[in-house]
Symmetry: C2
Subunit: 237 residues, 2 copies
């Protein structure tokens, strides 16, 4: 099986590819009979064989399913305050590499913006798709349009990066349910915002005694989760 991975709309017994994908296969010098991987961006991944390959189209036949070995046992969500400029792209890219299934944008009291343009949201979705491909994941994280902090609901655990907190993520992290992490804007969440989250059951955790930029905190916290590692735990049935 080659390392090539092609995204398809769904894993079906016969998959018709358009001109762009067919050209991609040509560029990679693949031939009829070669085996590659297909994935649907929702976590399903399988082997597939090239049955036909012409200039403008190709047909693949489905092989055995491959488990999404690069995925966490339950979905991992990053909720992040709106940041200026290209910072959100950098965060989405790194978060995708570090295994998030979803990025929820948040409007907070001190966030750099109150909203995000449709074009920019689309661009973030493309960043997630590219990063997913590069990091060989079977899931393309969704990037969800901003909501307010009070609207943000979560399942499982929520860890809020909070400077000065005494909490540590390591002893608390439990992959028996979905895991969510939340990081604030430049200048941080207000104490009322943190208080509201803690009342709803969130855990405040520290990333050490230094002041981190808003775009470093999510990468550091997701890095800790990746390094701590419970991806090998049995998945829920």
């Amino acid at each position: 099986m080659t390392d090539t991975r092609i995204r398809v709309s769904a894993l079906t017994p016969r998959m018709d590819l358009g001109p762009r994908e067919a050209r991609h296969l040509h560029v990679l010098r693949l031939k009829v009979g070669d085996v590659l991987r297909v994935f649907d961006g929702q976590g399903a991944e399988a082997a597939a064989q090239i049955a036909q390959l012409e200039a403008g189209r190709a047909v693949l036949t489905l092989g055995e399913a491959v488990s999404g070995a690069a995925e966490t046992p339950f979905p991992l969500t990053l909720a992040v305050a709106l940041l200026k400029g290209d910072k959100l792209s950098d965060v989405v890219r790194a978060a995708t590499e570090l295994g998030v299934a979803r990025v929820q944008l948040l409007v907070t009291a001190r966030a750099d913006a109150r909203e995000i343009g449709a074009q920019k949201l689309l661009r973030l979705a493309r960043v997630a798709e590219e990063a997913s491909k590069q990091s060989r994941r079977a899931v393309v994280p969704q990037v969800l349009a901003p909501i307010s902090l009070t609207e943000f609901a979560w399942e499982g655990q929520l860890f809020v990066a909070q400077p000065g907190s005494q909490g540590r993520i390591m002893p608390l992290l439990d992959w028996a349910a979905p895991v969510n992490v939340l990081t604030g804007p430049e200048g941080g969440l207000t104490s009322a915002e943190v208080g509201g989250l803690l009342e709803r059951g969130a855990h405040a955790v520290t990333l050490g005694p230094r002041v981190l930029r808003a775009e470093t905190a999510p990468v550091a916290l997701l890095g800790a989760i990746a390094a701590f590692g419970q991806e090998d735990q049995p998945r829920p049935a």
Copy 2:
């Protein structure tokens, strides 16, 4: 005491500041008698009082020492392969926020470059200085000119980020001695390079089952160390 922090060449009973620093104090509307912090970039930090303040100069008198609360018990070193473009700046900036005392640049088999210009090295040093200030550290990390992997020697522990490794940093990390982390270039270290480091006592550790970019791996690994946190341990005498 104000939040203002001024870098001085050394912490002495009387410190003479030049025009640039004096202007900075004026801009902040500080007055004679106000107390701020001074630090020497080597880890020493203290309170200081403004004794004289004129247009082009200022004199500070030294107050009580402030412990470097933002520092790890022993120095933390990042050894990182040369990367293209601005990636090294991004890594140095985030690594400074995450507490490194030193960034050692490395030439490895697959590194994007074999050397680095004097101007670029100077620029990285400036990035470290700015990031140190922003993250309110008393130490400005040194950025050391590239050496080969075989020349790289370390004290204490060395953790090498190695995709596919089964090792985890968490149970191994021990702040009873200096801690070093090493990350490779785009395309990774060769297995001979990793083998050589392991023979010399390094630990290979994983950051999860996904493929990380060369500029994400150091931030993720240093984030894990910061989140795990042993900064509160007693310092060596």
